[in-house]
Amino acid sequence: MASPAIRFDRLGQVFDTRSGRTEALRDVSFEVARHEFVAILGPSGCGKSTLLRLIAGLLRPTSGSVEVFGLRVGEPRDDIGIVFQKPTLLPWATVEDNVDFPARHKRGRVSPEERERAAALLRMVGLEGFAKRLPDELSGGMQQRVGIARALLMDPDILLMDEPFSALDALTREVMGFDLLRIFAERPKTVVFITHSVSEAALLADRVLVMTGRPGSVLTDVVVPVGRPRGPETANEKAIHDLSAYLRSFLLQKAA
């Protein structure tokens, strides 16, 4: 069997700072298969963002290991896309320049293919016709779409999304969720998706991990019993409702 896309093995993470020691993660072990969409739920400060940073190689584990496609992560890897909670676009660059920024930043130039892909990505996230606008002229939801397009520019296998919709209003957030389903149906990715919304996790993910409070570790690992493709109607399915209810009560009792 091929190795999983991501594998955490008894990982521990401790931060030593001037104000003291923080044990952020303890004994975390889980795997994410290729093209699997895994959502992570957990209280604030339990180390979810730290997990993403470890996968991207921006942080070295203090104990245990992280593997991506069977290789231990030692340094930053560029085959991974990241979407942050805030869009964090470059305010001076147009929407299209923001999308092809990774290419310009990595190599100093943008190839014609990358330019084309940027245009295609903008179409995919529904921002056709906004290419020449500045981020400032866009709504929060539109800005986050630019952020998603930027993360997809280098066509990474793995996409890390850290509470990408939590700064948006409820309605925009829901629309963005359905858009994500469509995007990944077109072009499957391995996704690790952090969220505080139980229903969002259930609707989007193949699996949901629930984490304990600090030091964070995996409390439970639930498979979402709904197939794909999914769409707005999926949100009304009983299985999704049941799972959401289960996760919610679970979080209320244990995780907090």
Binding site: R53, A56, G57, L58, E75, P76, R77, D78, I80, I82, F84, K86, T88, L90, P91, W92, F101, P102, R104, H105, K106, G108, G126, L127, L134, D136, E137, L138, S139, G140, G141, M142, D169, L171, T172, V175, F178, D179, R182
Partner: protein
């Protein structure tokens, strides 16, 4: 779901301005004139000048206490434009060279301080010491050791303008969203591009607010230097006029100096507006 939902678009920040224009009834020309930036300021300025002239005449205030605007204006023309040109150019030259030198040193230094915490730790206290030393106190030493010519005045100007530039640039470079730094690291881009493509542009608003402070300081620096040693310059001219008890002439110099500072400030603002429009504070 391929089109942008309308509610997302309508949440845009742009909204039509409320129609509360006080001169809405006037003819378009006068309306434009009355609402043109600075018109109100100019109007009140003229009123103050007239009031000042009248007060000085009615109460026969001696010129060494408060010269009348008319005597100030008269001394403008009695000096001769060629002499004004010499003085303004002397001050402008020193202020601009000192300012440019300050920028050329301060920005790379701020970058170095960002890259090296050691340098930052050692330089910061030194910068604070330099900044808190009154320039007026060190100016004579600088002038004696650097001799005649523009060099000592340029160094004094540089000393005065330097601190806000370094501190602001360093603050701006460090104020970049950490997410973008992580993005840069995850892309494994060369470190210098993190500076040129992310940190420096993000520091632009900070750098410009320092540039605006420093341009007025540059004029002050040049003038302070001229007070200590010079044969020309608006500061020298003011000092000279005061020593001759020619107060109206000194006031004329002061007005020229203020106009210079204002013009230079506007120039920096104009540069920011045309080169980095996105870096200006947002207006609603």
């Amino acid at each position: 779901m391929t089109s942008v939902p309308t509610y997302a678009a309508s949440s845009s920040k742009r909204q039509p301005k409320a129609m509360t224009d006080p001169v809405a009834g006037a003819s378009p020309f006068f309306r434009r004139l009355a609402t043109a930036p600075g018109m109100a300021t100019l109007g009140s300025l003229i009123a103050v000048v007239i009031l000042w002239e009248l007060t000085a005449r009615i109460f026969a205030i001696p010129s060494y206490l408060l010269p009348t605007p008319s005597s100030v204006i008269q001394s403008f023309s009695s000096i001769g434009y060629d002499r004004w040109f010499v003085h303004v150019w002397a001050t402008l030259r020193v202020a601009m060279i000192g300012y440019a030198l300050s920028i050329v040193i301060a920005i790379p230094l701020a970058i170095l301080m960002l890259r090296s915490p050691f340098l930052s730790r050692t330089l910061y206290p030194l910068l604070v010491v330099v900044q808190s030393t009154p320039v007026v106190a060190v100016a004579p030493i600088i002038i004696v050791s650097l001799g005649a010519g523009d060099a000592p005045r340029v160094v004094i100007t540089c000393l005065i303008t330097f601190f806000p530039l370094v501190v602001s640039t360093a603050t701006g470079l460090a104020a970049t969203p950490p997410e973008l730094i992580e993005l840069s690291r995850s892309l494994r881009a060369p470190a210098w591009r993190e500076i040129t493509q992310i940190r420096l542009p993000f520091a632009v608003p900070y750098i410009f607010s320092a540039l605006k402070i420093s341009i007025t300081l540059a004029v002050i620096g040049a003038v302070v230097a001229e007070f200590c040693a010079s044969e020309a310059g608006v500061g020298y001219f003011i000092q000279f006029s005061t020593s001759m008890f020619r107060l109206p002439q000194a006031w004329a110099g002061l007005i020229v100096l203020a106009a210079m500072s204002l013009a230079l400030f506007q120039l920096v603002l104009f540069a920011q507006k045309s080169l980095f429009p996105w870096s200006l504070p947002k207006k609603d």
